[in-house]
């Protein structure tokens, strides 16, 4: 069994890597072009963390959840705030996913970032980002979790804005940070709500900041024996936590930051989309799942937001021409599936989908980076025909795409089907809506995935970076674009993709098989992750066949429109031009936020009001103080005549006044 120190090691080893890179390597090797040692330290640290994570997973499998009280950090208002550890089955799975995906991404990054002047800085940030996410999943205390939660936000900010000299990257980093902060504020309010109701927890012998105790309180709340959080109280807590998850997991209406986050280096996108940043939101809901279960309203909100986002984001992926943006919208959509699954109570399937999604989405992003390495562009209009020059990338991307589209027997098929199965078995109207939306999402996913795939790899090559520069006009870009060197990426980039492809192809039935598979018991994952006594539903073969048939149908449609040249696709797009424009403008939501909310609401009205308040009220008060002292001084100064007899009159009158006062009051 892994010790407490071992679990801390999973978190502290990447922190140590960050410290060594930032404090030793960077100052010493400042002028070195590519100090490989920085990359090796990060990879080594994450490899060690991965080993410890697997050990932790095995320990949890054998001995159940590992919960350590840790040390007291603060004693506030009669209760202790402890920095502890909570490693249950959810954490154990997350640890393996985070460290595993992160390790493959680091290996890939070494090749991708070679020659970049920020190579050392990149790996320092990557260590920080991974460490923060690990710290988030092992946190035993809600405050501790919140600190790590914000550190993940910081890491994403630093990495999205990694090429900070590009205005678009700097703006995207700021946008990501600010938009997620909106959700974080809801999370903070939920924490404060728990804190102010601590009396009720302490009465029950629970600590309102300990995650284990919060989970333990949930059944009491549901049973109605926990007055402080009864009724709407628990809904507020759940909604607050959900707000945090909406921000981090880029759910509607806070999804706007994720497509812009593409400005970061591509491996960063892979990490953000697969394991760290956006997974944190789903993890958060899962972590406080008992609280959500205690509130029907909160569950309904979670389910509807998730299902709506799943379709909403998928439609925006239909017309996007940027390969990374297609994948970004796809992530938002797939996260919608996970959130919706949690909302309908399908806890195990949601985590299962998170697990499989991590593999195929990381794979697809690394593939997009590989394609970019060859062509110099992300715009798919200037790609095409790469199948011939990049056979390995082609094959690996095909596995990822099939998995994302939910084709048997790839990983995505199994997890998506479990979610659909749960939604189908739902008894009331809400589940029917959720189910319909998720099925629509399946069709859209299949279409945009293969539209992207065909535009990138099939047809004729359309010129890469040179063509893009010509299309934008030479004035737009200062220096000439590098000539695309159409060739397969190096083995250092292909191997991590291969590892992820294995997961994307096989993780579905290996960890959660339908029947006993050698040593692996049937539905192992569902039973391991799911709450006590959860029953894994048998595969609904009719539904699975229907969903897959739908996928195949829409892949077929994509083949018709985009496989042979782009003629058919272009004609269709021209026919529905207004819709395409609306989709490309992302339903004008970004325009609404930036134009109306930020520029008009904040800059003009709020800023205008504050400016007015500052000038008319604050400045007026300051001016009044100066005016008053100056004029009061002048008035008092008039008394100083220099005439001794005038002073004597004052003294006499004063004495008289004292005498009169004395006589009256005594």
């Amino acid at each position: 069994m892994i010790s407490e120190a071992g679990i801390w090691g999973i978190f502290l080893i990447p922190v140590g890597a960050l410290a060594i890179i930032a404090l030793v390597i960077r100052p010493l090797l400042r002028h070195h072009r590519t100090p490989v040692i920085a990359g090796l330290i990060t990879m080594g640290a994450l490899a060690a963390s991965l080993v410890l994570s697997v050990w932790a997973l095995v320990s949890v499998m054998e001995d159940g959840p590992l919960i350590y009280d840790g040390v007291t950090w603060l004693t506030v208002a009669g209760m202790e705030m402890r920095v502890g550890l909570m490693v249950d089955s959810l954490t154990a799975i997350m640890l393996v996913v985070v460290t595993g995906v992160s390790l493959t991404v680091q290996v890939y990054s070494h090749a991708y970032m070679k020659g970049d002047t920020g190579y050392v800085r990149y790996f320092a940030f990557m260590s920080l980002f991974s460490a923060a996410m690990i710290g988030l999943v092992i946190a035993g205390n809600i405050i501790q979790l919140y600190v790590m939660w914000e550190l993940v936000g910081l890491g994403s900010y630093l990495l999205i804005g990694f090429w900070f000299h590009r205005p678009a990257a700097a703006a995207a980093a700021k946008k990501a940070f600010l938009v997620t902060r909106i959700g974080d504020f809801g999370f903070l309010l939920a924490i404060l709500y728990l804190f102010f109701n601590r009396g009720a927890f302490i009465e029950q012998g629970l600590n309102p900041l300990n995650i284990v105790d919060i989970q333990a309180a949930a059944p009491l709340i549901a049973a109605g024996t926990f007055a402080a959080l009864g009724g709407l109280g628990v809904t507020w807590v759940a909604v607050g936590i959900f707000a945090g998850a909406v921000g981090k997991s880029a759910q509607f209406p806070l999804h706007v930051w994720l497509p812009d986050a593409m400005e970061g280096p591509t491996p960063v996108s892979a990490l953000i989309h697969a394991a760290t940043m956006v997974a944190a939101g789903v993890f958060l809901i899962a972590r406080f799942f008992p609280i959500f279960q205690a509130s029907e309203e909160a569950m309904a909100a979670v389910a509807l937001v998730g299902a709506f986002t799943a379709v909403f984001a998928a439609t925006m992926a239909l017309t996007s021409n940027d390969i990374k943006r297609v994948l970004a919208f796809s992530t938002v959509s797939q996260l919608g599936y996970m959130v919706a699954a949690l909302g309908i109570g399908a806890y195990g399937p949601a985590i299962f989908h998170l697990f499989t999604h991590a593999f195929f989405k990381a794979l697809l992003f690394l593939g997009a980076g590989s394609v970019n390495h060859a062509t110099g562009v992300f715009d798919m209009r200037y790609m095409g025909g790469l199948r011939k020059v990049m056979p390995w990338t082609y094959g690996l991307m095909l596995i990822g795409s099939l998995s994302l589209a939910g084709i048997f027997p790839f990983a995505g098929f199994w997890s998506k089907d479990e979610i659909l199965g749960h939604a189908w078995r739902g008894p009331d109207g809400l589940d029917a809506i959720v189910f319909a939306l998720l099925i629509a999402g399946v069709a859209l996913t299949a279409f945009y995935t293969f539209r992207m795939f065909y535009m990138t790899f099939h047809g004729e090559f359309r010129g890469g970076a040179e063509a893009e520069q010509k299309a934008q006009g030479d004035a737009a870009v200062g220096n000439p674009a590098p000539k695309p060197h159409l060739a397969e990426s190096s083995l250092v980039m292909l191997l991590p993709m291969g590892a992820l492809a294995l997961g994307a192809a096989a993780a579905g039935y290996l960890v959660n098989p339908q029947v006993d598979l050698l040593d692996i018991p049937a539905h192992w994952f569902s039973y391991f992750v799911g709450p006590e006594g959860a029953k894994a539903p048998p595969l609904n073969s009719g539904l699975a066949a229907f969903a897959m048939g739908l996928s195949v149908l829409f892949i077929g449609i994509a083949s018709l429109t985009h496989l042979k040249g782009r003629g058919a696709g272009k004609r269709v797009e021209r026919a529905v031009q207004p819709a395409v424009t609306a989709l490309n403008r992302r339903y004008y939501i970004d325009d609404l936020y930036e134009g109306k909310v930020v520029k008009t609401g904040f800059y003009r009205y709020l800023g205008g009001f504050l400016d007015w308040f500052d000038q008319q009220i604050v400045d007026a008060l300051v001016d009044a103080a100066g005016w008053l002292s100056r004029n009061l001084g002048w008035a008092v100064g008039r008394v100083q005549t220099g005439q001794a007899q005038f002073y004597a009159i004052g003294a006499s009158l004063g004495a008289l006044a004292i005498l009169v006062t004395y006589l009256i009051w005594s």
Partner: protein, 117 residues
Amino acid sequence: MDLEKFLILSAVLFCIGIYGVLARRNAITVFMSLELMFTAVTLAAVAMSRYVASRQVLANPGDASEAVLQTLLTGQVFALFIIVVAAAEIALGLGIVIAFYRSRETVDISQANLMSR
């Protein structure tokens, strides 16, 4: 004779003194008025000493404690102090007046206005 009459006389003298100090321009007259105020205070002190403390002792000779006996002559001692202080003050004050006269060729105290702002 009653205590009141002494006190009324003292008050009248004090008010005449105040009037002189506040209203007169001639520095010598101001000094004389000041002396009048001193005199009024001295008179009140002696009168109190004579009428208040000693009456108390005479009324209850048996209760005359050490503390009461000590107050018997306080007023009169005060009178002597005031006379001494007044004499010293006059010596100083007249010196100032003479110095003032030497620089301004006048003893009009409205001319002593260098302290105005």
